[in-house]
């Protein structure tokens, strides 16, 4: 096998041929867990159904269960069927099932690791996975350490020969503060080279990132106003209408800021604020995002420019729901926030004086993620006060989900003989009913890992820089003895409204 083989049937001009991953296999640790069952396995099925997995693809499940292979195959099939986005075809499943293996055991059981090693070898020979394997750590972060070191100990982390690869996928949260993130990074870096580590933030699908990049840098008309001459402030919102549901064990003690602001919202902020990268390769993009994250500061007055709260019982979308403290498995004295809002300032020439307001929460009005760039009012309005009474600030809203698209909000004259100006919306949606064929975030993530395409995953510097921004906020909150509340189904606590009111601004209703 030589590394220099170029496949004559692949031509960069041939845009029809799908980018199928080369021969490879995926090992999922924690395959019986919620994430694997609900997301990963269906995504793998959908990829196979779309013909994007190589014929040799194989899947090894590793978990602490005594299934035999039939039982495992049955369960996996049921999970795939339940979660599949695309049409169910038994022929596709049968193909996948041919490469399905199960390795029972715990992480400290060396026999299980030997079993895993021999299963991988066997697949290389029988299925033709060619020594290429990705390890998906779909397990609590507390176990990352031991799994990674066992992979090392059993020689599974190193490729067999120069032509093959080993990769590892780590899910967020990447630590719970700067220190733990650094520790985690060190543990992984000791075993895998940085280009083999894939940190996945499934909230921020690659499609979204690329949409933002295309919008900002493929157009000439937005960039000239994308700065503090024209932009008044930016609001980044991630709202969920659901409560914590069955995630109590994970969520309590973590909270909204660590759960999504640290990774998802700060990444969105970096994409919105960064300078134009010199190219869209992994390195250039990372450099620009890092500049923003390195120059972003938490507010100086943490008491004035942050807000946190918990939902209390109320009516959300026509259903009476419990408050956070009433959810199963939450200690009655928990101070974990389910809503967090912070102001971030970016110290660059472009953004000086333009605050970025980040908010995230559960049990809010509706499920929505968006970035609203709010513009300054025109310096002079040649109208009477009455005429522009209903005119707000122009805004450009990038809707991330649901219904991905762009909304432009501007003033227009109300038809009629009087001069009256009111705000109107102009909407663009990524292709109408297009949703049915745009891939699920996990599908693209898994495919990128198998293709070895890392550009848009944050690397450890970005993770650590994000913690540096958030750590002071979290420490400030940790010193508080009480927490604000908001009724479920509303748009958050009064303290968050006051936080913006202090700056003479108010939250958009998304």
């Amino acid at each position: 096998m030589s590394t220099s083989y170029t496949n004559p049937l692949r031509d960069p001009n041939d845009r029809r041929l799908p980018r199928i991953a080369g021969p490879c296999g995926l090992v999922i640790f924690g395959v019986t867990g919620d994430l694997a069952q609900r997301k990963l396995i269906p995504a793998i099925y959908d990829l196979a159904n779309r013909g994007l997995l190589p014929p040799s693809f194989s899947l090894i499940g590793f978990a602490r269960h005594d299934f035999d292979i039939e039982e495992f195959a049955e369960r996996t099939k049921a999970a795939a069927k339940a979660g599949a986005r695309t049409q169910w075809r038994d022929s596709v499943w049968d193909q996948l099932a041919g490469g399905l293996r199960f390795v029972p055991g715990t992480f400290d059981d060396d026999a299980a690791w030997l079993n895993l090693a021999s299963t991988m070898k066997e697949l290389d020979q029988q299925q033709g996975t060619g020594g290429n394997h990705a390890f998906y750590l779909s397990i609590p972060p507390a176990f990352f350490d031991v799994v990674v070191s066992k992979l090392k100990q059993h020689g599974l982390a190193d490729p067999d020969d120069d032509g093959s690869w080993r990769r590892v996928v780590v899910e967020k949260p990447f630590g719970h503060d700067l220190k733990s993130a650094q520790k985690l990074n060190a543990a992984v870096a000791e075993v895998f080279p940085r280009e083999s580590v894939f940190r996945i933030d499934h909230y921020l699908g690659k499609e979204t990132v690329q949409n933002i990049l295309a919008f900002r840098f493929a157009n000439g008309m937005f960039e000239p106003i994308w700065n503090n001459h024209y932009v008044d402030h930016v609001q980044i919102t991630m709202a969920e209408d659901i409560g914590i549901g069955t995630r109590a064990g994970y969520y309590d003690g973590i909270g909204a800021a660590r759960d999504v602001i640290q990774n998802h919202l700060l990444q969105l902020m970096a994409l919105i604020a960064m300078e134009e990268p010199v190219s869209f390769d992994a390195g250039s993009l990372r450099i620009e995002k890092q500049k923003i994250l390195a120059n972003a500061r938490p507010p100086q007055r943490l008491d004035l420019h942050t807000a946190r709260a918990q939902y209390v019982e109320g009516w959300a979308g026509g259903v009476e729901v419990d408050g956070y403290l009433g959810e199963e498995g939450i200690p009655p004295d928990s101070l974990t926030e389910t809503y967090a809002a912070i102001r971030v300032d970016i110290g660059t020439r472009r953004w000086a004086g333009v605050p970025f307001y980040l908010r995230a929460g559960k049990r809010l009005g509706r499920r929505v993620t968006e970035v609203a760039v709010v513009f300054k009012q025109a310096p002079h309005l040649p109208f009477s006060k009455l005429e522009v009474e209903e005119l707000g600030q122009n805004a450009l809203v990038m809707r991330i989900q649901p219904d991905e698209g762009v909304t432009l909000r501007f003033g227009a004259k109300v038809p009629g003989t009087t001069m009256e100006i009111r705000d109107v919306n102009m909407d663009f949606a990524y292709g109408g009913t297009f949703v049915q064929s745009s891939p699920e975030a996990y599908e693209r993530l898994i495919l990128d890992v198998l293709l070895g395409d890392p550009p848009l995953f944050p690397q450890h510097e970005e993770v650590e820089l994000s913690w540096r921004i958030l750590d002071p906020v979290i420490e400030h909150w940790a010193r508080q003895k009480r927490i604000d509340t908001y009724p479920a189904g509303t748009w958050g606590p009064e303290s968050a409204d006051k936080m913006l009111a202090r700056d003479g601004r108010r939250w958009r209703r998304p």
């Binding site: 049937l9 029809r16 199928i20 029988q126």
Partner: protein
């Protein structure tokens, strides 16, 4: 909303479209292309259904053109539909008399401003798609040689007149098979010396597949007739051993040297799926061009 117009003209049709759009609450504001379907009374129902399905992935203004008899007075009837389970809008034009020779004069004013125009002939294609009066309005011209009474002949005819922007659906149908063959070489990583194909008689996709393999791999490909209507068997002789793909109905067996034989799904796609693949890119398909050029150089097969 649906509006029928008899003995009408393009500006009345355009007015009707605006009216229907407003009445339906403007569902069709973000259309990305105009999709012109040229068909006849027998094929119109299927063709419009396929085109509307396609509009789910690519919100489009669909213009169906039926050229009727060339005799008698020039008449134009139209049926405009907006909303109603489509994400775009559609208008069906029925022409007869002298007008059938000037169909483009109706289509031109109905094209969406600025956005691309695609023409599809679901049945027999014109002798020269790029020079056809309506074909000339379009960036992309889609023919379907398999729908012709003499498929291979039809494919060669459009290939001789190839202009950038032309493709034939026989080529689109090949994509999954081509993807599988590329994956086989990803795995085998070995030089291909020759290849054998088995396909149903007069199958244009098989002729294209043979030409593509010859062109890309610089080898000779033999094509023999089988009983399955499409490409049923592909064998690549490589230095490492044979790559073999055998297809029967919906099951396909795939074997490459050094790995055990496997079943792979290679499903037959519907026409809207094929069209959607074609419209994902609106620039010229260079690989198709190179393949049909090779096919013509090679002479009759």
């Amino acid at each position: 909303m649906q509006i029928e117009l008899n003995d009408t003209n393009a500006s009345e049709i355009a007015r009707a479209m605006v009216k229907a759009r407003i009445a339906s609450g403007s569902p069709a504001m973000d259309m990305v292309l105009t999709f012109v379907v040229i068909t006849d009374e027998d094929g119109v129902a299927d063709a419009l259904r396929d085109a509307t399905d396609l509009a789910k992935e690519h919100p489009a203004r669909v213009i169906g053109v039926i050229r009727g008899s060339g005799r008698g007075a020039a008449t134009l009837d139209a049926k405009v539909r907006v909303g109603q389970e489509t994400s775009g809008e559609s208008v069906l034009l029925r022409m007869s008399g002298q007008l059938v020779k000037h169909a483009e004069s109706v289509v031109l004013p109905l094209l969406l401003p600025d956005s691309p125009v695609v023409v599809w002939w679901p049945g027999e294609a014109p002798a020269d798609p790029a020079e056809d009066p309506i074909g000339r309005l379009a960036q992309r011209r889609l023919t379907d040689s398999e729908a012709s009474s003499k498929p291979v002949h039809a494919l060669r005819a459009v290939a001789r007149r190839y202009e950038p922007g032309d493709t034939d659906l026989a080529w689109t149908r090949l994509t999954p098979m081509r993807g599988l063959l590329a994956a086989a070489l990803d795995q085998t990583r070995s030089k291909v010396r020759s290849a054998e194909l088995v396909a149903g008689p007069g199958n244009p996709a098989a002729v294209l597949l043979a030409a593509w393999l010859e062109d890309r791999l610089r080898i000779d490909v033999s094509l023999t007739e089988g009983s399955y209507p499409h490409v049923s068997e592909v064998k690549l002789h490589t230095d490492a051993g044979d790559v073999l793909i055998v297809r029967e109905a919906d099951t396909t067996t795939f074997s490459v040297p050094g790995a055990s034989e496997r079943q792979v799904p290679l499903v037959t796609r519907t026409v809207p799926e094929l069209l959607a693949e074609d419209l994902r890119r609106l620039d010229a398909d260079d690989v198709y061009e190179s393949t049909v050029k090779h096919m013509l150089e090679k002479g009759t097969r």
